[in-house]
């Protein structure tokens, strides 16, 4: 690679590996998703449930806003000195018998993990749910290396058994209801109870039976990390079911793959993060289990620990003045649950393992906006995501900024202006002169003819049909504001 003096080199996540890009644009995928009545029903039920739980436990905390501000500052601080924090983390982990690996991209991370597993001689690994390993397509890479990866989180297990794709950061199987999950278990789980009911309790019990022996005999585990503390070298996994504890405790070798942005400077920072994350994520005061470990502890847990630090486009996001804030994300998924777009389309439409508002920002930043050009438009810009974000990421602002850049890039690349650019130029010309604007406003009343008889404009010819294909346009008023003002002097 070439480095140009004075011009930063940014390297985005490579194509052809992992899951950060969809096969079709968001509007196309969303059109299919919103036509699926069962999917919409499942999503409305699940997101409605979690929104109510989150609101209740957040309301219990008097200093929630102060915690959000502190969380935002902690991540900002971590990013500003990311090189130093990662070096400190490496020193602390190494001093406690762990081995730190650095991966520039998905391919390099996959090769490192595959090599580490092969070196143990094992053909099977148990996995704790991890966004980073989904992002890089680790399971597929391991399979190519002759290693079977067994997902142990209940929702990941459902997705893996059903040969499906995750659709939510916290609950990858949110798109399925209990009856659909029961059907996946009955069809795909070896030795399943043929009379299995669709009660969540019975389904959880079935997962316990299915995985128990695998946990007890597993020799190698792969996990992610929710946080890593630079000054102590401590890694943390926040979970509910105990599958995380099983994987982090019982095997002989533990391999943790962590995005470089997960580092926090000090142990004390956890007093903020461990209050923000569970309440925002599962709507619990605290999740059932959090495991914290520092390197290797003789006589307790794995004898070998490898920590793989992953870039895969994160430094490209870091170089972006506004976009770098997306790296503050702690993957709670609160923004998904409050998003009116996510609630209707579900996660698959986004094409990336990171769906919802944070995905609409993070995915294009990791891949370059040219590879995910439609995602910044997958939002109504209502701002609910910012209000829900525990670390105050300005998601609406970043979406607008990405749209601006996409428009500018398109204008630079194409000699022919887009219809939108022509319309905007015409609008600017009209609005820059008072009499032109007045005439245009009066001319707009002609649209009333199109709106008859229902009072709404339901279809327009191309290119305006791009708007009316999925929305009605209200009928223009009989009188413009300026005419009304002249006539009534503001109603006085």
């Amino acid at each position: 690679m070439t480095t140009f003096i004075g011009m930063p080199t940014t390297v985005t996540a490579p194509r052809g590996v992992g899951q950060l890009r969809g096969e079709q644009t968001f509007p196309r995928a969303a059109r299919v998703a919103v036509g699926d009545a069962q999917l919409r029903q499942n999503l409305a039920h699940a997101t409605g449930t979690i929104r109510a739980k989150r609101a209740a436990v957040v309301a219990e905390v008097d200093d929630w806003e102060q915690l959000r501000l502190a969380g935002q500052a902690i991540k900002k601080q971590a990013m500003a000195q990311l090189d130093e924090h990662l070096l400190a983390l490496e020193r602390a982990v190494s001093a406690r018998g762990g081995v730190v690996h650095w991966a520039r991209d998905a391919d390099e991370a996959n090769a490192i993990v595959t090599g580490l597993v092969q070196a143990t001689g094992e053909r099977e690994v148990v996995k704790v749910k991890s966004m980073a390993t989904q992002e890089i397509g680790l399971n597929e890479a391991l399979a190519a290396g002759g290693i079977q990866a067994l997902e142990t989180d209940l929702a990941e297990l459902i997705v893996q058994l059903g040969d499906d794709c995750p659709s939510h950061i916290l609950v990858p199987a949110i798109h399925l209801n209990r009856a659909e999950i029961r059907d996946v278990f009955r069809a795909e789980m070896p030795g399943v109870d043929p009379d299995l009911s669709d009660e969540p309790r019975a389904l959880a019990e079935q997962a316990r039976k299915h995985l128990r022996a695998r946990f007890l005999s597993a020799k190698v585990a792969v996990s992610g990390a929710n946080f890593a503390v630079a000054d102590t070298g401590t890694c943390l996994v926040v979970e509910s079911e105990g599958n995380g504890r099983m994987c982090l405790t019982l095997p002989e070798t533990l391999i943790t793959v962590m995005g470089i942005e997960k580092v926090v400077p000090s142990w004390r920072d956890l007093e903020v993060m461990l209050q923000l994350l569970p309440r925002s994520s599962t709507g619990e005061r605290m999740n059932p289990y959090t495991s914290a470990w520092t390197g290797v502890t003789p006589g307790d847990g794995p004898k070998a620990f490898h920590l793989v630090l992953l870039d895969n486009g994160r430094t490209a996001a870091l170089a972006d003045r506004t976009g770098r804030e997306a790296l503050h994300c702690i993957r709670c998924s609160a923004c998904l649950n409050v998003c009116p777009v996510y609630e209707r389309t579900g996660g698959h439409a986004y094409g990336s393992v990171y769906p919802g508002p944070i995905g609409a920002v993070l995915s294009p930043l990791l891949t370059g906006v040219e590879d995910n050009p439609s995602l910044p438009y997958a939002s109504s810009l209502c701002g609910a995501c910012f209000d829900a974000c525990p670390v105050r990421i300005d998601l609406p602002g970043m979406l607008v900024d990405l749209r601006r850049r996409h428009v500018e890039a398109r204008a630079t690349a194409s000699p022919v202006p887009s219809p939108e650019a022509i319309a905007m130029a015409a609008t600017a010309w009209t609005m820059s002169d008072a009499s032109r604007w007045r005439r245009a406003g009066r001319a707009g009343r002609l649209g009333r003819l199109l709106a008859r008889p229902r009072g709404r404009i339901r279809s327009l010819p191309p290119p305006l049909s791009a708007w009316t294909s999925s929305r009605d346009l209200p009928s223009p008023p009989a009188e413009t504001f300026r005419d009304w003002w002249t006539r009534t002097r503001g109603g006085r």
Binding site: R268, L274, L318
Partner: protein, 232 residues
């Protein structure tokens, strides 16, 4: 391995280049001449809870929160720990019990049980799976979230023994209970293998409704050891 060293060097170089490009100097000095400095963290959130550690009120809050997340809770005085532990084991039908090496032996007398195994680190996961229950002490607890912490001390044992058996009886002393999460973290030693436990294992993975009982112990029974003055 020069390839590995290349990866490390290049990721670090990319980070430095990115921070420069974004106009972040990385300096902690507020008076740094070039560009914005690293923000300090406003810590005006509550770092101590309203309730005193070990107080009657804080114990009540801990019990309330534990019960809310489907843990069983009983209280006893110092002299009554053995009876309370036995009652908890009996309630769960546990006959085969494993304990960490540093647990006070008088807490779990073997009489009336099939076996009490003192863990010496040699039991395999499969052998631990033969056990009905584990009895441990604890390091600290936060009342407001109903969280109990084990850190691998001799009276708590290695992590596997409090994970594999299906019943966990955990003895918590009143003086170990603080109100808030910041107070809890301040009491912990980061380098120890630490497990934060808030109720029995659970999942919200089906329709985001919480159900208890997956891979971790399905029964969590907390024995709160209170001081006679606290008896209400």
């Amino acid at each position: 391995m020069s390839g590995a060293e290349d990866g490390r060097r290049e990721v670090l170089a990319r980070i430095r280049s990115a921070n420069r490009a974004a106009g972040v100097t990385g300096s902690t000095e507020p008076t740094a001449p070039s560009g914005p400095s690293v923000p300090s963290v406003p810590r005006d959130y509550a770092t101590t809870g309203a309730l005193a550690a070990g107080s009657v009120e804080v114990i009540d809050l801990l019990e309330d929160r534990l019960v809310d997340y489907r843990a069983a809770v009983t209280r006893c005085y110092d002299a009554g720990v053995a009876d309370a532990v036995r009652a908890a084991l009996d309630a769960a039908g546990a006959r085969r019990v494993v304990v960490p090496p540093g647990l006070p032996p008088e807490w779990v007398p073997a009489t009336g049980l099939d076996t009490v195994v003192i863990d010496d680190g040699s039991l395999s996961p499969a052998q631990l799976d033969e056990m009905d229950a584990v009895v441990t002490a604890s390091t600290a607890a936060a009342a407001v979230t109903g969280t109990i912490v084990l850190d691998g001390s001799p009276d708590q044992g290695r992590r596997a023994i409090s994970l594999v058996p299906d019943v966990h009886v955990c003895v918590v002393g009143a003086q170990q209970v603080v109100h808030s999460v910041p107070e809890l973290l301040a009491r912990l030693e980061p380098s120890r293998p630490t497990t934060f436990i808030s109720g029995p294992s659970a999942t919200s993975d089906i329709e985001l409704e919480r159900v208890e009982g997956v891979h971790g112990p399905r029964t969590l029974h907390v024995v709160l050891v209170i001081e006679p003055d606290d008896a209400a």
